[in-house]
Symmetry: C2
């Protein structure tokens, strides 16, 4: 494996953020992982770190059973890619999501994502993950 | 930069594939880059390498002016991530796409992707790229 110690730390930061923030949808844990200067590229999100907190509070209220099931996670320098399956409730086909995070000074400083509905029984018999 | 020679070669293979296959939508160039055992996870694509060739022929006929504008490309071992903007015709808001490729024996052996419409004038003033 060719990952440097910095890359391993960046990957760990992002996976720890999934475990402490995204999966429990816990806005109180955001500041441990996300920079105050967070640049949010999600198209429908509010900008910034406070917008992320309000988003987490909203989805926890609306879909308290939601899970974010990580399928693969990759790191290249200060960028981390995570491919995961969001299911909002049991039996939800959910979304396929790929996030890219940029780490700066030990915090997540920038985030891009692409989301797509999972299509049950689509033309390709091989699953999206 | 911490990339190994193998990682640089894997990244180059994928970017060369974008230049020779995806941007010109040239099915005749597929075999130089894609494994005969290609595993396709795109939800609406036909499985396999021949399915990819038919897909390229179809999109070149339907949208001959399409562009695939690479915004960032990352590599971690045998996995390459590419974030890009597809515009099917001039002025098309298009799609944001993130692809993940797995390289094996110098060819692209597996592919996952997530695609999402770009929303002109969405609530987040920061663009998706």
């Amino acid at each position: 494996m060719s990952r440097t110690a910095d890359e391993e730390a960046n990957l760990r930061l992002v996976l720890d953020m999934f475990a402490a923030v995204l999966n429990p949808m816990d806005s109180a844990a955001v500041d441990r992982f996300i920079s105050p200067d967070y640049i949010q590229h999600n198209q429908i999100a509010e900008p910034g770190r406070d917008g992320l907190k309000r988003f987490l509070d909203m989805i926890r209220a609306q879909t308290p059973e939601a899970v974010h099931d990580v399928k693969r996670a990759l790191v290249d320098g200060d960028h981390v890619t995570v491919h995961y399956h969001v299911r909002r409730w049991p039996g939800d086909p959910g979304w396929a999501v790929i996030d890219i995070f940029r780490i700066e000074n030990g915090l997540i400083a920038e985030h891009w994502d692409v989301m797509q509905d999972v299509i049950p029984g689509g033309p390709n018999p091989i699953g999206p993950f």
